[in-house]
């Protein structure tokens, strides 16, 4: 009897405990939809303290904005987008509840403070995830918001981690927690680890330890620690200086490649044919809008849309170019002023046409493989879209050079532009060649538009932003010379990016312009002047 009573009470206890736990989870989940953000934050903290497998998916869904309340039932669910609505499942037992429309669900609001909290909590829970990318990201997130309460999970994750790169990130994460502890041994070890890190967060922590008051004494009580930190900082600063230089070079080359792309079509229409085409920028714009159109027409091929858009944009802009050449420019050869005015008119017409379609600023989506960055180390990273654009611009340049130098069509183009009468008498239909050359230049501008749609806005005015820069590059590089355009674009890009940190963007641009004006005074034909009889015409 006694035993059975005891057994009963134990059973009861267990029952109550599990019931309590289940209830606690359910209670806290309901509180996630509280009235104030502080109430939600509290509930999130409470959930995190529970040892329950269901917590991580809930917190993650909340962080990603996938946690909803079903309008009439008040039930809290995790949603997954599917077509027009959401496929939802209960947070309590993960049972699927079918598809709900957007109007049936109300998203649980979070703000930045809550998002930050969720990020470090989820990072702590995901330190032992299977996917190394998730573990890496979790470690980085922990460095950003060191949290004393997560120390244990970092330590245990460190024990099990095999990946060296993640391991060193975890060490930094641990050190950034320990540096604020009261234990001198721990702090010393933390400074030693941070001294080898280049993350800006780590540098900031060392700076805090090595901070001095105006009279030159360390603010830190442990002066030995402070001087170690200071010595480490001096070393890190030189290292960071080198990274800064590499980064500036990359920025410059990247800006240069954008300039090259924008100018390369003009190098043909203006450089080779001598037509001052003020509508060049609008050809870029048409290319960018083609990208948008492709994304709208084939939403299922979003990842590939950029690749499909390249030939499409070439055809669209090229066709418009041929049309402009046949209808307007053809009648104006040898009259540069009229050509300038007529093409300027064309550019205004094209801009307003886009506005009339109400296709103002449109959102061109960046495919997954072009987003994000390549993190080389804590201090140095290159964005993917910029890297692809650099490679792309070089490819376009190489292809164009091949076309002009090595193909029969290129030969005809060069022949017509160098001596029209002679080319005519050799049996070349110069009218057709003119149209094709102009079409080629415009088509390349269209391709540039595809690339530019990935880094800037696509709107009716986008062409105007590039027209001046394009002329600048072509004139600076030497009219009629592809290599000149290449070097001019790259050098202007690099110079601009090295000036910007000191002079600011506005003054930097002015300095570059003044430099080009002076340079053109000195060498009116640009960097790489063409030589030969036909130059004088």
């Amino acid at each position: 009897m006694n035993i059975s009573l005891r057994l009963l009470s134990v059973l009861l206890c267990v029952c109550v405990a599990t019931l309590c736990r289940a209830d606690e989870f359910a209670d806290l989940v309901v509180k996630l939809n509280g009235d104030s953000f502080s109430e939600k934050t509290e509930a999130v903290g409470g959930l995190h303290r529970l040892d329950d497998k269901r917590v991580l998916p809930v917190l993650k869904a909340m962080q990603d904005g996938n946690l909803f309340v079903v309008a009439e039932a008040g039930q809290i669910v995790i949603g997954k987008e599917s077509g027009e609505g959401y496929e939802v499942q209960s947070v309590l037992d993960n049972s699927p509840l079918g598809v709900r429309t957007k109007s049936q669900l109300e998203k649980i609001k979070i703000n930045n403070g809550l998002r930050r909290e969720l990020r470090s909590l989820v990072a702590g829970l995901e330190l032992s995830a299977k996917d190394p990318d998730i573990r890496r990201q979790s470690a980085i997130n922990l460095i950003k918001n060191p949290d004393e309460s997560l120390r244990e999970s970092v330590e245990s994750a460190l024990g099990g981690e095999k990946n060296q790169a993640i391991k060193s990130l975890l060490h930094v994460a641990l050190a950034s927690i320990d540096i604020n502890s009261t234990d001198t041994v721990k702090r010393k070890a933390a400074v030693a680890i941070l001294a080898d890190a280049v993350q800006p967060e780590a540098v900031a922590m060392l700076e805090k330890v090595a901070a001095k008051d105006p009279s030159g004494h360390y603010l830190e009580a442990d002066t030995e620690l402070a001087s170690t930190a200071e010595a480490a900082l001096i070393r890190i600063q030189t290292q960071l200086g080198i990274y800064k230089f590499i980064e500036n070079c990359f920025f410059g080359i990247s800006l240069g490649s954008v300039l090259l792309l924008a100018a390369i079509g003009l190098a043909i229409t203006f450089g080779v044919m001598g037509v001052i085409n003020m509508a060049h920028g609008e050809m870029i714009m048409l290319g960018a809008y083609t990208t948008f159109a492709i994304q709208q027409l084939f939403p299922q091929w979003l990842e590939m849309s950029i690749i499909i858009a390249i030939p499409a944009a070439f055809l669209v802009s090229g066709a418009v170019g041929v049309l402009i050449e046949r209808t307007i420019i053809r009648h104006l050869y040898g009259r540069p002023l009229e050509t300038l005015l007529a093409t300027f008119g064309v550019s205004l017409v094209l801009q307003q046409a886009v506005r009339s379609f109400r296709a103002n600023n449109v959102a061109v989506i960046t495919p997954e493989w072009m987003s994000g960055m390549w993190q080389i180390n804590g201090a140095l990273s290159f964005t993917f879209n910029r890297m692809y654009i650099i490679l792309f611009s070089l490819a376009v340049l190489a292809l164009l050079a091949f076309l002009l130098r090595k193909t029969y069509m290129g030969l005809q183009m060069r022949a017509v532009t160098q001596n029209r009468a002679m080319a005519n008498s050799m049996g070349i239909r110069s009218g057709w060649v003119d149209a094709l050359t102009f079409g080629l230049g415009s088509g390349i501008a269209g391709i540039a538009g595809v690339a530019l749609s990935q880094i800037t806005n696509v709107g009716p005015n986008m062409g105007q932003q590039y027209i001046i820069d394009s002329f600048m590059v072509v004139v600076f590089g030497g009219v009629g010379n592809l290599m000149g355009t290449f070097f001019a674009a790259l050098s202007l890009g690099v110079v601009n990016k090295f000036l910007e940190p000191f002079a600011g963007a506005v003054l930097g641009k002015i300095i570059v312009l003044v430099f080009i004006i002076l340079f053109i005074q000195w060498r009116p034909r640009g960097l790489f002047a063409l030589k030969g009889r036909f130059v004088e015409d």
Binding site: N112, A204, N361, G504
Partner: protein, 434 residues
């Protein structure tokens, strides 16, 4: 030859007679209508933003006419296109007031366009409703400012970041022209008055249409990793915003780490972004499309029906246009006339419901009382309202945070009757405070 000349003459005279008839008919009709001038750019760079406001005014006119017009007369819109060309704003304003004899003008977006039209409107004693947030430091007898003054947008936004996000370090990033420069001057003075040190404020300007943000974003990242919570206050204008946010997204600057609060990015601008990587970045306005209020839902439905496009958004300057129009209509009804002087007197203290569930009041300094909302960008291109002022904030024409204008007030009722009255010297200086 002779025959054809004769027939040509005949035709011309016929055409002339017909046009004379129709002209007189038009004039006869004109006497029976109230003319509403619309001075918004329909072409050029500003067309993107301003065409929407033109459509809003036309929609409001249609609605008013469906209710029987005003004072028993129908309203008639006179739309002109100043083509984003600032001097043309003055010319078109003159045309509206002299030739078309409009009773009221709704128009302008940029400050420079307003400053251009202002002398004409004051000289001809016209009436302008200006619906866009601006840098303040102005109050004209002939203008009603229904957009936000700096204390209705910039200052509450900074307060929010300071209080809720514990921001201690500030990057003031702007396009190089008058609105960002004045706003940043005010913000700098305000932040310093709150104890922020000079080394914790970084102010930077970039040219119009700046498209290469790599250096600036790298520098913001660096400035923000000094161990103190950092935020960016952006007065970047128009086209430069998209490349800026794209660079932020690619460089991994998350709202959790360095939030960006913008004063010129609304729903219409977000339509040009892929907002997924930008969730959590902020904007401060007096209206968001996502505001939950029956009046707002009705307005959105009316707008989508009028423009025949389910995907069109509404934004803050549209609400300001809505409030301005409703106030003008109410003032005309109260005054019983469209005469500018009478309508202006009736405007003082007039109130209409706004679209976010409160009441907008026109103050005697010609600025509105309205609530300030802070919204976070969502994946769907909308803003989620995360904070709002408990009541309305009275628009302050002259900021209290610049020493030059701290002593200046605007009050268009007796006894002051002045747009820039210096309370220290007791004098009313000219329109432009120097």
């Amino acid at each position: 030859m002779n025959e054809s000349l004769k027939s040509l003459l005949k035709k011309t005279s016929l055409a002339l007679t017909i046009s004379a008839f129709s002209l007189s008919a038009a004039m006869a009709q004109a006497a029976d209508t109230i003319k509403v001038g619309v001075l918004h750019s329909l072409s050029g760079t500003m067309a993107i933003s301003e065409t929407t406001l033109k459509d809003t005014v036309l929609m409001m006119i249609d609605e008013q006419n469906a209710k029987g017009g005003l004072l028993g007369k129908k309203l008639e819109a006179v739309v002109v296109d100043p083509a984003s060309n600032w001097p043309l704003f003055a010319e078109k304003a003159k045309q509206l007031l002299e030739k078309d004899k409009v009773d009221v003008i709704f128009g302008c977006w940029t400050s420079v366009s307003r400053k251009s039209a202002l002398p004409v409107i004051e000289e001809k004693n016209g009436l302008l409703f200006y619906p866009v947030q601006y840098e303040g430091e102005e109050s004209s007898k002939n203008v009603f400012y229904t957009g936000a003054a700096p204390n209705q947008q910039a200052i509450p936004a900074v307060d929010y970041l300071m209080k809720n996000e514990k921001v201690m370090r500030w990057v003031l990033e702007g396009t190089d022209y008058v609105y960002p420069r004045t706003t940043n001057k005010i913000l700098e003075a305000y932040l310093k008055s709150k104890g922020v040190k000079a080394e914790d404020i970084s102010i930077n300007y970039t040219p119009f249409g700046h498209s290469d943000w790599q250096t600036r974003v790298a520098e913001i990242k660096k400035f923000g990793s000094a161990g103190k919570k950092t935020a960016v206050v952006s007065t970047i204008n128009g086209d430069a915003n998209v490349p800026f946010y794209k660079e932020l997204a690619n460089a991994g600057v998350k709202a959790e780490d360095i939030p960006v609060v913008a004063f010129s990015v609304g729903e219409e601008e977000l339509a040009g972004f892929d907002t997924k990587p930008l969730v959590g970045h902020l904007a401060a306005w007096n209206y968001f499309m996502s505001a939950k209020d029956p009046a707002n839902s009705a307005f959105i439905a009316q707008w989508k029906k009028y423009i025949k496009n389910e995907k069109r958004t509404t934004n803050d300057p549209m609400e300001a246009t809505y409030i301005g129009f409703k106030m003008w209509a109410k003032a005309v009804t109260q005054a019983g006339t469209t005469k500018v002087d009478d309508v202006r007197d009736a405007m003082n203290g007039i109130s209409v419901p706004n679209l976010t569930g409160g009441i907008a009041v026109m103050n005697t300094n010609h600025h509105l009382t309205k609530p300030v909302l802070i919204g976070e960008i969502q994946e769907n291109g909308q803003f989620e309202i995360v904070w709002q002022t408990p009541g309305g904030v009275i628009g302050d024409a002259w900021t209290d945070f610049l020493p030059d204008s701290a002593n200046v007030v605007a009050d268009w009722t007796a006894p002051i009757k002045c747009g820039n009255f210096n309370i220290k010297t007791g004098k009313c200086s000219g329109q432009n405070y120097k």
